[in-house]
């Protein structure tokens, strides 16, 4: 049963547009994450956010930014999408150890 909710499921856009993906967790966890899964299914950490402390993977381009209103929400904004941003974006939350993932948002950039 999913307790990490992501919207939308799919999004198609054009190069240069701005997009925003939502993530909400109902597990009461303190830490949330964004991961990117590329076309070869490789998963890589993008951000982790805990109690207003943001940790950024240094390889993430600056056009990506996480946005949090409270500890149950962590959204992902991409300011000006590029073709290489096409991927599945997975949100996760964790109490301390195990990670629990949402279903993902599949982004296609034309």
């Amino acid at each position: 049963e999913t307790a990490v909710f992501q919207t939308p499921n799919y999004h198609v856009t054009q190069v240069g547009n701005e997009v925003s993906f939502n993530c909400k967790q109902t597990l009461g966890h303190d830490t949330m994450y964004w991961y990117k899964q590329d076309s070869k299914k490789l998963l890589k950490i993008m951000f982790s956010y805990n109690n207003k402390q943001l940790i950024v993977n240094e390889t993430v381009p600056r056009r990506f930014s996480p946005q949090s209103s409270d500890k149950a929400h962590l959204n992902l904004r991409i300011k000006s999408v590029e073709p290489e941003d096409s991927a599945v974006y997975l949100c996760a939350s964790s109490p301390r150890e195990r990670l629990f993932f949402g279903h993902g948002t599949k982004l296609s950039v034309l």
Binding site: T31, A92, E97, L99
Partner: protein
């Protein structure tokens, strides 16, 4: 090279049989998690291990941090076990939850 080397990359099993998946680590890891990604894309957390062995139904996982590997054993495979299995590990220097994933094992169980 990859910090987490997962094998095999693909596996076919007849229903009722079993096999083992393995991850080798090229750096010291403090914990490992195993996930199943089903056909809908959902990543299901199967195990979290900081050491030793855990069992859950037909699945058993071991993590040996000294020898830098982890295994996932599947016995009596069922059709619904099909999917991609990932191991993911935390290095000692990383923030909790910042996982390095293996490239996955695509498992197909056939009748």
């Amino acid at each position: 090279g990859d910090q987490v080397e997962q094998s095999p990359s693909a596996l076919s099993l007849h229903e009722g049989t079993g096999s083992a998946l393995r991850c080798n680590f090229t750096t010291t890891m403090r914990a490992v998690q195993w996930f199943q990604q089903n056909s809908r894309g959902s990543l299901i957390n199967l195990f979290y291990l900081a050491s030793g062995t855990k069992e859950n139904g037909r699945l058993k996982s071991t993590f040996n941090s000294k020898e830098s590997y982890s295994t996932l054993h599947i016995r009596d495979a069922q059709l619904e076990d099909s999917g991609t299995y990932f191991c993911a590990a935390e290095a000692g220097t990383q923030v909790v939850g910042q996982l390095t994933f293996g490239r996955g094992t695509r498992l197909q169980v056939y009748a």
